[in-house]
Each structure stands twice: as structure tokens, then as C-alpha cells.
């Protein structure tokens, strides 16, 4: 028997397979299409204090091995989330992580304080890294000082473990990760989308209304892996790997590189049962390699090449 469970600070997951914020709605949408309780956890669409309409269309555009999106954090807002979405999520036998976004530290504070009173939530993932909103968003996680300040504030207020989600659109992601760690984050998750642009040559307009957008999907996996690799070497807190994970092989690459858990994102749009399949695939892999514990024997087991003397 393989033990798939992992610990991320104080947060225990029955397996390391999560679904990424903004790629799984609020769980209910996929209820008919996959066994939600097979997942190690569900991370909700980013919740903001007030509802957000999101950006004008077109919001998405498909690219080779990926897609651009500029949704603009469209979400139902905190009140409707608690009233309409949380009750269903509480019924699912998995770990619930609420992703929180905001355009100011005060907004993060208000959402955390309110959610603290709501049962059934295991942790918060702080989205400091959305490239698709003008205010806040990327600004937070592109600056180590601000990341540290907002994380410290959230740490004081939060009754629950904190995961700080990082953008790859920076010079040194490990500097930002360290700032989060030093300010009390329990884990960092990476990566959010890469800023990208596509152009319609007939209309000579960007393919996305907002112009630049976030690139996600299989194409970003090598970039994401390299970021996980970098952060794993420089920062001590657990890492949750995200970026183009579409199957068991992809998930394994992240775990081996040093991610304690992974999030499936864009792949859910094609097959919302991707996470469930990966869990089954991990079991098979561990059996084949005679591994008893994912956390102890697999996570971070990457062996670098050595030149022969």
C-alpha cells in the first residue's frame, strides 16, 4: 500500500492532487463529470470582496499547446460565495482551499476575516499574481517587499494555513517566494499564468480584448518546472507545483522536482476528471517503483547528473 497523503505545514491532504483556482469553478460544475472526492483538494475560483463582472470578451484564445485568458477575476463575490457556493463544497469529501484575490491589502484582510468564521475551509491560497486586473493583482507578487507585507498581515488575521500563489512574470521568483516564507506563508504555489499576446492579423487587433493575457496549458510546463526547481533550492517551505499538468507523467515531474503537491489547471477544461486520473496513475507508479510514501520517497527526489571524474 502506498501512502499518497502529504503534509503542507499544518495542512494535510489525502493525496497531492489539487485543482487550480479558476479552472474548476466552485466544484459543482464538474460534479456530474468526475468523482470530486477522489481529489486531494479543491481550490476555488478567486473570491473577491465584491462581485466582479470580469473583462469584456473575447476573454480566451487557443494557442498551440495552451491558451490565453483574460477573465479579469470574474466571480460571484464573497457574500454569494458563502451563501451559494460554500454549502455544496462542504459536502464534498475533500480538502477545501479558498483562493482569495483583492486589489488592496484591506480587501484581502476583509475576505480573510469573514471566511475565518466559515466552517469547512482548510486553507487560503492568496492570489497575489493575477495578470488580468489593472489594480493590485500582479503588482503584489512582482514585489518582494509588498508580498512580504501582505503575507505578514494575512498571517496575523488568518486562522488557517496560507498558501501564497506566485507569478512567473518576475526577475527572481525565489526572492518573492522567500519574502512570503519569511512573512509566515505555510507554502507557495507556482506558477500563475505567463503574460502573453496573440494578434489577429486580419483585424490587426489583439485576440483578447484586454490585449495581453495569461498563457497556460501544456506549453508552460517546462517553465513552471524550472521555477519549482529554483524555488525548491532556495526556500524551505513546501511548494505546490502548477503549470500545464495534464497527466500522471506531468504530475510526477513536479513532485520529483520538489513540489509537495500539484494543481491541475487548464487540463480540466478538456477533461475535468484529469485530477482523478492522476491520482490513480500515481498509485500505479508508486506500486511499480515500490514506493511506500509519496511525501518521503518521491517529493524532491530529483537526482542531478554527475560528471564522472
Amino acid at each position: 500500500m502506498t501512502n499518497l497523503s502529504v503534509k503542507i505545514g499544518a495542512l494535510s491532504l489525502k493525496n497531492p492532487v489539487l485543482v487550480a483556482s479558476g479552472t474548476f469553478g466552485y466544484g459543482q460544475e464538474s460534479h456530474a463529470l468526475t468523482n470530486l472526492s477522489a481529489l486531494g483538494g479543491i481550490i476555488t475560483k478567486s473570491v473577491t470582496l465584491k462581485p466582479r463582472h470580469g473583462n469584456p470578451p473575447p476573454r480566451i484564445f487557443e494557442l498551440p499547446a495552451g491558451m490565453l485568458n483574460s477573465i479579469g477575476l470574474a466571480n460571484v463575490g464573497l457574500d454569494a460565495f458563502i451563501r451559494d457556493k460554500l454549502p455544496f463544497l462542504r459536502t464534498v469529501d475533500t480538502t477545501l482551499i479558498v483562493n482569495i484575490a483583492g486589489s488592496s491589502p484591506e480587501e484581502f484582510a476583509a475576505v480573510i476575516e469573514r471566511l475565518n468564521d466559515e466552517p469547512g475551509i482548510a486553507a487560503y491560497e492568496l492570489n497575489f499574481s493575477c495578470p488580468n486586473v489593472k489594480e493590485g493583482g500582479l503588482g503584489f507578487s512582482q514585489n518582494a517587499g509588498v508580498t512580504g507585507d501582505v503575507t505578514a498581515m494575512a498571517r496575523k488575521l488568518s486562522k488557517r494555513p496560507l498558501i501564497v500563489k506566485l507569478t512567473p512574470n518576475v526577475t527572481s521568483i525565489s526572492d518573492i517566494a522567500r519574502a512570503a516564507a519569511d512573512s509566515g506563508a505555510d507554502a507557495v504555489s507556482l506558477i500563475n499564468t505567463l503574460v502573453g499576446l496573440a494578434v489577429n492579423v486580419e483585424s490587426r487587433r489583439p485576440q483578447i480584448f484586454a490585449g495581453t493575457a495569461g498563457y497556460s496549458g501544456p506549453g508552460i510546463k517546462p517553465v513552471a518546472l524550472a521555477k519549482v526547481f529554483e524555488v525548491a533550492q532556495k526556500v524551505d517551505i513546501p511548494i505546490i507545483g502548477i503549470g500545464g499538468i495534464s497527466n500522471t507523467q506531468d504530475a510526477l515531474e513536479f513532485l520529483i522536482t520538489g513540489a509537495t503537491a500539484i494543481e491541475v489547471g487548464t487540463a480540466n477544461f478538456v477533461d475535468p476528471a484529469t485530477g482523478e486520473s492522476i491520482v490513480a496513475g500515481l498509485v500505479q507508479y508508486c506500486q511499480r517503483h515500490n514506493l511506500h510514501s509519496v511525501q518521503e520517497e518521491l517529493v524532491g527526489s530529483l537526482a542531478m547528473w554527475q560528471e564522472l571524474e
Binding site: 475560483k45 463582472h53 470578451p57 473575447p58 480566451i60 498551440p64 485568458n69 478538456v270 475535468p272
Partner: protein, 271 residues
């Protein structure tokens, strides 16, 4: 609304080429054959490649509840539809469906005018069937670039509905757009209040339909085609602009959940 959607690999039972770059296939799926409602769609994926990566949405065109199959019909326009064109009986396609809200039957409907533009006609057969079974009179207006896209006209004629055809190249029916004969017909209506327009087609065609509902006062529903990331509400990428002002202040609706069928006055068809 109860959620009947499923994800399933469906064997291809039959494959047909109906014209240059127009194909149809019959997929075995008793569940979707049973539960699909007119105007709903399925989201298809051929193979597991990343080019293209996302599923492609198609109207449930015809079905047989007893034999347990449904058909989709498509026009080849890019990578996804080209991959579909290489399928043959015995192959299998991953399907999520049925998805979306279909057409709605207004309470006092007496005459249903079904208007298809190009391959948009694929959304109309189920509707025709339901209305005829409910004893509602159906008239069908189909416009297309050329005769190839009018492959379903025989189907509608066989149902006993009156069928008016127009092609831009004049190869079948009147030459020009279907809007001209449609407007003529609507002008001659005796009971416009009990008449309703149900349309599906390309963007420019739908804009013309919206305009016609405004000019004639005949109410209508349009089925739109947008880019879809997922087809079932998790990507929030298929937003369409609502007409203002709305009492609930909603700015956008989702084509995959709130549509793809909308009231002609409900949304804005941007340029």
C-alpha cells in the same frame, strides 16, 4: 434545471460527407440521445493531442432515442474540424454533453419560423421535431453560401414543413440572402404575436435576425457561436455582453451556461 451532462467516449457509428467540407457523423450514446433538448450542444475531443487542445462545440443535430445515437454535422474550418473529418465508423470521440440551455417554447406559440444560416442549420432539426409533435406549425428558411450547406433541406421537406431556400450563388432556391424571403413572409403574417423566430447561424446572420425581430416586432431566439474554453461553466471564457439596462446589473452572460440560445433582445452581438 437538472444537470444531465456526462463525459463519455462515443463510438462513431456512421460518417457522411454531405458536400465540400461538410460532414456529419452518428455517435452511439443512449444517454445524450435521450436527454438532449433542441439547441443544446456537445463538446467534442478527437484524440489526446494538444493541437488543438480544447474541445470543440457542436449542436446536437439529430437523434434517435430508441436506437441510442445522435448526430453532429459540421463544416471544416480549422484544425479541430479537420481532425473530425478523418474519423470513420469504429473510431471513438470523447463527448461532454448535453450542454447549455436550448431553445425555449413560448407559451402561446402557433407558428415557429426556423431560420438557419449556413451550418447553423444543424441546431434546428430537433426543434422542428419537437414543435411538430406538439402540433405547432413549422416553416423553415435556410440560407447558405452554396448548395453544399443546404444538405439538411431534404430532411426538413420530409417532415412536411414548408421550406424556403436561398443561396448566395443562386445554385439552389432564390439567389441572395435568406433575409429577403423571410421578411416578405413575416410581413404577410396574420398573427405575429403567436409567431416566433428560432435562428442559428454565423455572427453577421444573427445580427440580421436581431434586426428583423426589431423591425417586424416578431419575437425571436438566437443560438450563438462563441469560443469556448470548457463548455460547462468552469473557465468563464465565453462571456457575451448583456444589453443594458438589466435589473440584476449583470454585465455578461455565459454562452455555455446561459446560452447558447438567447432571446434576440437579451445580448449584444459585438462587431
Amino acid at each position: 434545471m437538472n444537470d444531465t451532462k456526462i463525459i463519455v467516449d462515443c463510438p462513431v457509428l456512421a460518417f457522411d460527407t454531405l458536400g465540400a467540407e461538410i460532414h456529419s457523423m452518428r455517435l452511439h450514446c443512449p444517454e445524450i440521445a435521450k436527454s438532449a433538448r433542441p439547441g443544446q450542444f456537445v463538446n467534442l475531443k478527437v484524440g489526446t493531442e494538444f493541437a488543438p487542445m480544447l474541445r470543440r462545440p457542436f449542436s446536437v443535430c439529430r437523434r434517435d432515442r430508441l436506437e441510442g445515437w445522435f448526430e453532429v454535422m459540421w463544416k471544416v474550418i480549422g484544425q479541430g474540424t479537420r481532425a473530425m473529418s478523418r474519423l470513420r465508423p469504429g473510431d471513438s470521440v470523447s463527448v461532454i454533453g448535453p450542454l447549455g440551455r436550448g431553445y425555449i417554447q413560448p407559451a402561446d406559440l402557433k407558428l415557429a419560423v426556423l431560420v438557419g444560416g449556413g451550418i447553423g442549420v444543424a441546431a434546428l432539426p430537433l426543434l422542428c421535431e419537437d414543435f411538430q409533435q406538439a402540433g405547432i406549425e413549422v416553416e423553415v428558411f435556410l440560407g447558405a453560401r452554396n448548395g453544399d450547406e443546404l444538405a439538411l433541406s431534404g430532411y426538413f421537406k420530409d417532415t412536411g414543413a414548408s421550406v424556403v431556400l436561398a443561396t448566395e450563388d443562386g445554385s439552389i432556391g432564390t439567389r441572395g440572402l435568406i433575409t429577403a424571403p423571410l421578411l416578405e413572409r413575416l410581413a404577410a403574417l396574420t398573427k405575429p404575436a403567436n409567431t416566433h423566430l428560432f435562428s442559428c447561424g454565423p455572427h453577421g446572420f444573427l445580427k440580421a435576425m436581431v434586426q428583423i425581430t426589431e423591425e417586424t416586432g416578431v419575437a425571436g431566439q438566437i443560438a450563438i457561436e462563441t469560443m469556448m474554453g470548457c463548455g460547462f461553466g468552469i473557465c468563464v471564457g465565453c462571456a457575451v455582453r448583456c444589453r443594458n439596462p438589466r435589473p440584476d446589473k449583470k454585465k455578461y452572460k455565459l454562452a455555455c451556461l446561459d446560452g447558447p440560445v438567447f432571446d434576440a433582445q437579451e445580448i449584444v452581438l459585438d462587431d
